[in-house]
């Protein structure tokens, strides 16, 4: 199980890009932290989640 934004989800073996697509996030409007470390955008497809990982997806919407 992987914790994504505090919720436990079966996402083991998926990479960050797949998770973003599954959860309907736009890749250009997020920042992703894996176990409290920023994941560079260039590493999204190479970063595979494993059991016990904790992911925080910060979503940006317009307005300011």
């Amino acid at each position: 199980m992987v914790k994504i934004n505090g919720e436990k989800i079966h996402a083991d073996g998926k990479n960050i890009l797949e998770i973003l697509a599954d959860m309907d996030y736009s890749e250009k409007r997020v920042a992703v932290e894996l176990n409290k470390q920023i994941v560079p955008k260039s590493k999204y497809s190479d970063t595979t989640l494993k059991d016990g990982d904790s992911v925080e997806i910060v979503k940006f919407v317009g307005g300011g």
Partner: protein, 216 residues
């Protein structure tokens, strides 16, 4: 104080020391805060900070003041058409002539963010465009992990202001806003709700500075 006379730097500084104490005020006046984007969020953040005694502020924007900004941004009607960096520079110094305000009229992107923000201790992301927000935050987190970063997402519309929160994401990265209310959904930006979010961001900056005093 006689009306019209501007008090000396020392008098103004002492008035702030009376509120904050010597140690906190010394920090407030020295810590360098960059405000990226000078719209409804950034212009309010800068005004709040300079009033609170933060005297070292770097304001950054590429845009000019527009008639549509007057509903929520800290500009005067006669400043329409001026670069926001110049207009806000003038307004901040009118509030606090002893503040050290640096202005950079540039569109921030991955290529220039590290150079422009090099000297900031704390960075406020205050853009309006979602992709620009994400670009700045990702760039700072990846390339400048030593900086504090206070960003925001979700403050459009007429929704309850109590939905706007400050959330700590990692040790030095904070997010303010409701996380959801998107200008793209047709909601306008209302001065009150944008100001609440700007208040969250500015207050987090002050808390970070206060925390650094307590940890000395």
């Amino acid at each position: 104080m006689v009306a019209g006379n501007i008090p000396s730097r020392e008098e103004v500084y002492q008035a702030l020391v009376e509120r904050h104490g010597e140690n906190l005020q010394r920090k407030l006046s020295r810590v360098s805060v960059a405000v990226c984007g000078l719209g409804g969020l950034g212009s309010n953040i800068a005004v709040l900070l300079v009033r609170a005694g933060v005297w070292n502020i770097h304001i950054i924007d590429f845009d000019k003041v527009d008639i549509s900004n007057i509903n929520r941004q800290q500009y005067f009607i006669e400043q329409i058409g001026q670069y926001k960096t110049n207009a806000l520079y003038e307004n901040l110094l009118k509030i606090m002539p002893y503040a050290d305000i640096k202005r950079t009229c540039v569109k921030l992107s991955e290529n220039n963010i590290p150079a422009v923000l090099e000297n900031a201790d704390i960075i406020c992301e205050a853009f309006d465009n979602a992709e620009s927000k994400a670009e700045l935050v990702n760039c700072v987190l990846e390339k400048m992990p030593e900086k504090y970063l206070v960003s925001s997402s979700g403050m459009a519309g007429f929704g309850d202001t109590n939905l706007i929160k400050t959330k700590q994401i990692t040790e030095k990265f904070y997010m303010c806003g409701d996380g959801e209310s998107d200008i793209a959904d047709g909601m306008g930006l209302v001065s009150t709700r944008v100001a609440v979010c700007a208040g969250h961001q500015a207050h987090k900056v002050i808390q970070i500075i206060n925390g650094s005093v307590e940890n000395d």
